[in-house]
């Protein structure tokens, strides 16, 4: 047990942060958008090998990259390309961005589908890997802070490439990815709100000076911190129990993070110009993925105590 990053891990995080620092700002034209997908950042992450970290170094390091990317105001697709693809297709460099799609709900809007080159489709027992063609996806406007898209015609699954018996593996790493993205988004949302409440004065005091605000901010900070370690543990061990626990913890706390942090930012927080929504509405998007809270909680129970 050692919860300090190695020198190599620290160097990796610092290098990712440097790229993100240079490419995280929303362009002026996108200041009022619900999200901004930065294609240049995506390309740079690929070209510099950061989306191959899961394959080349390990899943823990891939999760560290996911967490850092999730702190950025702009969107890049990192989790599926670096964490999931490395586990499902260890010997292949599948072109990203990659969307993860539930086979039971093919016609719904899916996160990252509008920017995706490929999709993993969860078919229960198996996983289908399908190319995504731009002319077969329509953009779905949403306040959820990711690009969302919907298949115009559902992909042909009968002839699609299949990864037999990989469904459970996909869902496990999907949960790790959800937890890691939530950890990064939660940390960024807490930092954003903390800056606001320290600067904004009400009734002659900074908002941060009120004890009721302080206590709830600390609870949000605690959630974000715990989530960071839970997601990294899940990535490091690859154990289904750890993945379920991390996703369960993330998804049960989305409400608290979104409600409290927006409350403290007041009316400013409901405008797109204020950046908070870029992270809180990512959390909302993650809240129901990979089965959502109830399924992750039930899976924790099954793994710990078996059925009935």
């Amino acid at each position: 047990m050692n919860l300090h990053m190695t020198d190599e891990q620290s160097a990796l995080v610092a290098a990712v942060q440097e790229i993100l620092r240079d490419h995280s700002d929303l362009p002026q034209s996108a200041r009022l958008h619900s999200h901004w997908y930065n294609e240049t950042l995506q390309r740079l992450l690929v070209e510099n090998g950061y989306l191959d970290v899961g394959r080349q170094i390990g899943s823990l390091e891939a999760a560290l990259v996911v967490i850092e990317a999730a702190k950025a105001p702009v969107v890049a697709e990192v989790a599926a390309s670096s964490l999931l693809a490395a586990q499902l297709l260890p010997d292949e460099n599948l072109e990203g961005p990659i969307a993860i799609v539930s086979g039971d709900h093919l016609t719904r809007a899916h996160r990252n589908l509008s920017i995706a080159r490929h999709a993993f489709i969860d078919l229960g027992e198996d996983v289908a890997v399908v190319p995504v063609w731009a002319d077969n996806v329509e953009l779905v406007p949403s306040i959820l802070a990711y690009p969302f898209g919907r298949f115009i015609r559902p992909p042909e699954l009968r002839t699609a490439r299949r990864l037999p018996s990989k469904g459970a593996e996909l869902r496990k790493w999907w949960r790790v990815a959800v937890a890691a993205e939530a950890a990064g988004a939660a940390q960024a949302a807490v930092t954003c709100t903390l800056n606001h409440v320290k600067q904004r004065n009400v009734f002659g005091h900074p908002v941060a000076a009120f004890q009721t605000v302080q206590h709830r901010m600390v609870q949000c900070h605690m959630v974000a911190t715990a989530l960071y370690y839970l997601s990294l543990r899940a990535a490091a061990t690859g154990l289904p129990y750890d993945a379920d626990v991390a996703a369960c913890y993330a998804q049960q706390h989305v409400k608290k993070l979104v409600v409290d942090l927006h409350q403290f930012c007041g009316a400013m927080g409901v405008t797109n110009e204020f950046e908070l929504h870029l992270w809180t509405y990512r959390l909302r998007a993650l809240q129901t993925e990979a089965g959502g809270l109830v399924e992750s909680a039930l899976d924790v129970v099954t793994r710990r105590w078996g059925h009935g």
Partner: protein
């Protein structure tokens, strides 16, 4: 980063478990655990049990060799603490000795105090109690009224302490007393409970026997040599001691063990097959696991020598969140656990009733993290 235990740590945990299997009597769960670790019976048991642990090097493994330890790292101490807590804390009040009283004496004690107390603690035969809270001073310790008047070569102590766990059976008391007019003019004294002028009474309450005591000090004579550190330096000492106390109790481990037991009960009674109950249990597990990792982070900081943060306070907040959820779960799904239904679950529930109060209230932990951890300003 490494989230797995090393082979040596796994082996050590097995070694501790084997010692527990060997040393605990067959009726431990039925007789001692229900009475709780603060009861007179458990305290008396702890004297023999801890002495045996000491002989096997399992009482203070993380202490330096000169004080009876093995110089092991804090991970061994925490593995030991997890297993002891999960077994119902057979060390009784002596968990406190090894967690924070000993380390505090090592840091602030005179050579004579260290020689006198540390080897005694390491032998497993001495019981301490903590004379902090008073009727008018709990979390706000600076409001305490017990006074130690400096008479040159000795002090005269008058006042009273309350909520003093284990006081009935304790050999020594770690006492806070006012030694000046200023709010923070407070000193620490190490007093034998047999000192003339010290009297203990007990009263009933919601939590288990042994915890609700009042200690009265009437013209108690304490030599200057009984003072720990310089006069008026109690806050520095207490801050150090509490940073150990806040992560010293493995609440996540004991909570998960108790939850495992509750699920066994529910399965036995064919009441486990309820998805609402199961989803709640899953959420509680995840909260205990969160508290576990936050605690491990603090242990890791200690091992690396980087700890002086509010992360220990954060552990308490996370653990309490899980404990409170689980207590509510127990009443919801094992409703007779407080009415003779299951002695182990009743013990868990009742021991944890003051979990958000002892060692500084949850609100104080939140205040400390807000101010020192997040840099949030105080209202002026």
């Amino acid at each position: 980063m490494e989230f797995d235990w090393t082979p040596e740590q796994i082996q050590y945990r097995e070694h501790v478990r084997a010692a527990l299997r060997e040393l605990l009597p067959p009726d431990w769960d039925q007789v001692y655990v229900p009475q709780s670790y603060g009861s007179d019976a458990a305290i008396e048991f702890s004297r023999a049990f801890c002495a045996e642990l000491a002989k096997r090097g399992l009482l203070v493994p993380h202490w330096p060799r000169e004080y009876g330890g093995n110089g092991a790292d804090d991970w061994q101490h925490f593995i030991l603490g997890e297993e002891m807590k999960a077994a119902g804390e057979p060390r009784g009040p002596q968990y406190m000795n090894v967690n924070w009283i000993g380390p505090t004496l090592m840091r602030f004690g005179s050579e004579e105090q260290r020689r006198q107390h540390l080897l005694a603690i390491a032998s497993g035969r001495v019981i301490w109690c903590q004379g902090f809270s008073e009727p008018g001073a709990g979390t706000d310790l600076a409001a305490l009224k017990t006074r130690a008047e400096n008479r040159g070569d000795h002090y005269i102590i008058n006042g009273s302490k309350i909520w003093t766990s284990y006081a009935r059976k304790a050999d020594w008391c770690f006492v806070l007393a006012r030694t000046g007019a200023g709010r923070k003019d407070v000193s620490v004294f190490l007093l034998p409970m047999s000192t003339p002028g010290i009297k203990v009474t007990s009263f009933p309450g919601l939590i288990k026997d042994g915890h609700l005591n009042e200690v009265f000090f009437t013209d108690v004579v304490a030599p200057v040599s009984a003072r720990l550190g310089e006069e008026g330096t109690a806050w520095k000492i207490i801050k150090y001691a509490l940073s150990y106390e806040r992560v010293g109790v493995a609440r996540y481990h004991a909570g998960l063990e108790a939850l495992d037991h509750a699920i066994e009960v529910l399965k036995r009674e064919n009441r486990f097959d309820d998805p609402v109950l199961q989803a709640r249990a899953g959420v509680i597990v995840s909260k205990f696991e969160a508290a576990r990792l936050l605690t491990y982070r603090v242990v890791d900081q200690r091992v690396q020598g980087t700890s002086d943060t509010t992360d220990a306070n954060l552990c308490r907040i996370a653990a309490l969140d899980a404990v409170e959820d689980f207590m509510d779960f127990l009443i919801q799904y094992v409703p007779d656990c407080l009415a003779g239904g299951d002695v182990l679950l009743e013990d868990y529930y009742r021991i944890n009733i003051p979990a958000g109060i002892t060692g500084g209230t949850n609100e104080l932990q939140l205040d400390l993290v807000a101010a020192r951890g997040l840099g949030m300003p105080r209202r002026t």
